[in-house]
């Protein structure tokens, strides 16, 4: 294997979160009853004409500029022709040889290694409607009794990001995609919700002798709807190609369908890909113009991008690159973390808790950062109690769990469940005295010079107080009692 290296490229589609569709005034929605957001334009009634959604152009330009692309002063829409029931005009309005933006690059990290992938282009198009195939076993069109179309999604603004084949491994492909998704979410142009298919991608992969700069014949992989599946599909395709080449064979340029059940790929029937889209300029739309002042304005209004934020987290909060990437890679997690720190909590303590207990809670509940059952303000309040010695580190984890369960303020939880740290010297002296009295043998050992036995007494006191005692204070009191 070692003498072969993969060359991977990704094409990523993102639905934009505009209020209205790409070419008509219908609302972009999720989960509404079928065919409730339609009009003559997005149903392709005779005589209806498209009008470009300017907000969608702005969102697309934001993505393009965040990827360092040049937004071209003039771009045009093309018609991409093919028949399918989810495409009511039987052509998709897309962009072809004069796209919105070209020539950027995207930097991403795989562990401590910084990689860069060139971006060929960012172009705009419209999404297809949704097909529901009824009566079959597979939910696919073959074997179904009939099919229904929901045009609510039809015409949703879509952008396509075409990456160059610069990605060196399946793992890097997954990182590229995750970090690209973080970038887009942070731009406020799409939630990139994976379940709803707001972000979708195809991958192409070829292999070549390590160190070569020639590109081999590539295959295209489809139907990978999670980051894991992307990596898995590439990891299964890679040895397949190597085996063929090592046996002296050649790779067929074909499209492969990934099956998540088996973790393998199978070729799509060639008929399905034998398309001639007959692209030609869309005569219903005038060329899209983007003057310099507008582009500058969009550029200036870009929020802080993840790469810059990670660097800032490292320098401002003293975090490791790993921690800064976990916390600063995505805008929602970054915002939560900084909200906690802004409440006066130590940056490292806040980092440990955000990456630890808080992330575990999000994962367990399947929630996005910022949408968990503990607000940044409450987590900060808890961490202040820890810092002030009012709650022990051990008890704090219990308090955190109860804050989620009861949706309550940390102080109320501590009071209600009596989880406060006991720092009352008189109260603890009494406990220490009784523990010493109960273990005369250990007292003898200590007095014989075996000082580590002190730890045994501290443990016994902590147990007796159900972990609430201030361990530092207990340690002092134990030593005083034994030596005094």
């Amino acid at each position: 294997m070692s003498e072969w290296e993969p060359v991977i490229g990704l094409e990523v589609h993102v639905e934009l979160d505009t209020e209205t569709k790409m070419f008509c005034g219908c609302a972009v929605t999720k989960g509404d009853p079928p065919n409730t957001h339609t009009c003559p334009v997005c149903l392709a009634h005779p005589g209806a004409l498209p009008v470009v959604n300017e907000r969608a152009v702005e969102y697309a330009a934001r993505i393009a500029l965040a990827l360092g692309c040049e937004v071209r002063p003039r771009s045009i829409f093309h018609r991409k022709n093919y028949f399918y029931p989810d495409l009511p005009k039987a052509y998709q309005i897309s962009q072809y040889d004069e796209p919105l933006a070209v020539g950027g690059s995207f930097d991403y990290w795989v562990g401590d290694q910084k990689l860069s992938c060139r971006i060929n282009r960012v172009h705009m198009e419209e999404d297809a409607a949704k097909l529901i195939h009824a009566g079959g076993e597979t939910g696919r069109i073959a074997g179904s009794d009939y099919s229904m179309v929901d045009f609510n999604r039809g015409g949703t603004p879509l952008i396509e990001i075409v990456g160059e084949p610069d990605i060196p491994s399946p793992e890097a492909a997954r990182e590229f995609l995750q970090q690209l998704r973080n970038l887009i979410v942070g731009l406020g142009v799409s939630e990139c919700n994976m379940e709803e298919g707001q972000i979708r991608w195809d991958a192409n992969i070829s292999v070549r002798p390590a160190g070569s700069d020639r590109l081999g014949t590539r295959t295209e992989l489809k139907n990978m709807n999670s980051f894991r599946f992307l990596q898995q599909a590439l990891e299964s395709e890679l040895p397949r190609q190597v085996a063929i080449l090592e046996a002296g064979g050649t790779i067929d340029q074909e499209t492969l369908h990934f099956d998540p059940e088996t973790g393998t790929t199978t070729p799509l029937r060639s008929k399905e890909e034998a398309h001639d889209y007959r692209y030609f300029p869309e005569p219903d739309l005038v060329p899209l113009t983007a003057d310099e002042a507008w582009v500058d304005k969009v550029r200036q209004d870009l929020p802080e991008l993840p790469a810059a934020r990670v660097e800032r987290f490292m320098s401002q909060y003293g975090l490791s690159r790993y921690d800064a990437t976990v916390l600063g890679g995505g805008s929602t997690m970054a915002r939560f973390y900084e909200d906690v720190v802004a409440e006066g909590v130590d940056a490292k303590l806040a980092a440990n808790w955000t990456m630890g207990e808080y992330s575990a809670h999000l994962n367990a509940a399947g929630l996005d950062p910022g949408h968990g059952h503990v607000t940044a303000a409450r987590l900060a309040a808890l961490l202040r109690l820890v810092a002030d010695g009012e709650v022990s580190g051990t008890a704090a984890k219990q308090v955190f769990a109860l804050m989620i369960e009861e949706r309550a303020e940390p102080r109320d939880v501590v009071t209600r469940h009596d989880l406060g740290q006991v720092s009352d010297t008189a109260e603890l002296e009494a406990v220490v005295a009784s523990v010493i009295a109960a273990h005369p043998a250990q007292v003898e050992q200590f007095r014989a010079g075996k000082e580590q036995v002190a730890g045994f007494f501290v443990g016994q006191v902590m147990r007796a107080t159900q972990g609430k005692a201030n361990p530092q204070l207990v340690s002092e009191l134990v030593r005083t009692a034994l030596t005094g």
Partner: protein, 498 residues
């Protein structure tokens, strides 16, 4: 019966004055036209659908409306070419595939004049999807020319032109992709105008070739043409290619052409023009000079390539525009289909007529991988050259004139087996569509018993100049012949008029 209202002679200008002065009621005016439809429609077949009840009812409502709140075109009976969608009124586009199609919205141009309280008499016949020059390609039977029922009215707006000529409508809206308003206007002896591309919204006009299609009026006079054009022009936010003309359409009054320079393109008059048509044309040129203008020969050197370029570009766009008629959402769906592919094939195979299929095939071919550059790409280059020809010419002259059609109305069925001969009919009208320019056709006399059209072309946005010049010339020509409803093939049936 209203005495003195002759639907064959009445102009919109006069009808409007009679209505405003209270001399006639809108309901009387509408009845005049509905009566004429009842009298001649079975012979002319200008309409796909006559909305008699609605028209009569609406006219009564207008009569009850106070004068001050009446729209500018209130009560004027109008035919609408059946490729403009009208909410709740079946719109077929002359095709079986839309035989029962009920639009859910109304075309902007129609909505504008409805807003002016115009009365729609019905939807006029056309070549299927506006593809044709004779109205013989309608799925609902051909329209006949009121000047000679054995001949065609031209096309594709043949129903609109015939309706106006036959007194079945006061005026009409048509659409023009390569001559589809001007050529039938010429063959039916009425006025027809294609405005500058974008001057009238295409929203709701069932697309044939999007970069060429333009809605325009067919009327009895140039004044009426301006009046109706004024009602339909204007920028429409629903049509990205629509534009606002630099000034409002003026109602023309000019009687002279002093100081204007007219160009006569040698390429238009050198070949293929019927002697009778050429004679009328030359007489009209003489009149132009008598009205104080000068006429000079000019050259539009790429004219001979315009027709082939058009027959690439228009079918290419049509092949995509007509792809939406797939049986999925509306319109005809073949019952003879098992799976999706069969449904597409059977629906479109049964729903479209021969000429439409021919053009879809041509267009699909021209856009295909490996042929695009040789056909579509090359045609777009020719289009640019044709446009430059006009730019150069309009640096020398104010307006350009030519015959509208190389022939007068031809016999029904005489060209249906020869598409190329049919396509030649648009040789003088196609170049301005490629260039996006305005042009008007006015009647300039008869050749034999059939009308001849005279075309005036102008630079982009020159509608007012074009209308003024056409108005002055119309006065000098003094065309006042009327159609006879004769059928020369069946032995003269004689005049139908009382």
């Amino acid at each position: 019966m209203t005495a003195g209202l002759d639907p064959l002679r009445l102009t919109a200008r006069d009808a409007r004055r009679l209505l405003t002065d209270g001399e006639i009621a809108a309901s009387e005016l509408v009845k005049t036209y509905l009566d004429q439809i009842a009298r001649v429609e079975d012979r002319v077949h200008a309409f796909v659908l006559v909305t008699a009840d609605n028209a009569a009812k609406y006219a009564t409502e207008i009569d009850q409306e106070a004068g001050a709140t009446r729209g500018a075109l209130a009560g004027l009976p109008t035919a609408i070419k059946d490729n403009m969608v009208t909410e709740g009124v079946t719109t077929t586009c002359g095709s079986r595939i839309l035989g029962n199609y009920q639009p859910v919205y109304t075309a902007t141009a129609v909505r504008r004049i409805w807003g002016d309280h115009i009365v729609m008499l019905g939807k006029s016949n056309l070549d299927e999807f506006a593809m044709g020059s004779s109205t013989e390609n309608s799925a609902f039977g051909p329209t006949r020319n009121p000047w000679d029922l054995s001949t065609v009215p031209g096309g594709s707006s043949g129903g609109s032109a015939a309706a106006v000529a036959a007194g079945e409508a006061l005026w009409a809206l048509g659409s023009d992709t390569g001559g589809s308003i001007r050529q039938p206007a010429a063959l039916c002896g009425v006025v027809g105008m294609k405005p500058t591309y974008g001057a009238v919204s295409r929203y709701g006009l069932i697309a044939f070739a999007s970069s060429l299609d333009q809605i325009g009026p067919l009327t009895r006079t140039v004044y009426d043409c301006a009046l109706l054009l004024r009602g339909i022009t204007g920028h429409d936010p629903c049509d990205s290619t629509s534009i606002a003309l630099p000034g409002e359409i003026e109602l023309p009054a000019a009687e002279r052409l002093d100081g204007l320079r007219f160009g006569i393109p040698t390429e238009y008059v050198s070949t293929g023009i019927e002697p009778g048509v050429l004679e009328r044309f030359e007489q009209t040129v003489t009149l132009i000079e008598e009205l104080g203008a000068t006429c000079v020969e000019i050259s539009l050197p790429h004219t001979e390539y315009a027709l082939p370029a058009y027959y690439i570009i228009a079918p290419a766009e049509a092949s995509a525009n007509l792809a939406r008629f797939d049986g999925v959402r509306y319109g005809y769906r073949s019952p003879h289909a098992g799976d999706l592919t069969e449904m597409y094939e059977a629906t479109r195979g049964e729903g479209f007529g021969a000429e439409v299929k021919r053009r879809i095939m041509i267009g699909t071919y021209a856009l295909s991988s490996g042929y695009y550059d040789a056909y579509y790409g090359q045609a777009q280059k020719v289009r640019t050259l044709v446009r430059r020809d006009f730019d150069t010419a309009f640096a020398q002259v104010d307006l350009i004139v030519s015959p509208t059609s190389p022939t007068v109305a031809f016999g029904l069925g005489s060209r249906t087996d020869d598409p190329l001969a049919m396509y030649q009919s648009d040789i003088c009208t196609i170049p301005v569509n490629l260039a996006g320019l305005p042009a008007i056709s006015i009647p300039c006399g008869l050749a034999g018993h059939l009308p001849v059209g005279f075309q005036i072309m102008g630079p982009a946005y020159s509608e007012n100049l074009l209308l003024a010049a056409a108005h002055a010339l119309e006065g000098a020509i003094g065309f006042d012949a009327l159609p006879t409803f004769a059928d020369s093939s069946a032995g003269a049936r004689g005049a139908d008029r009382r």
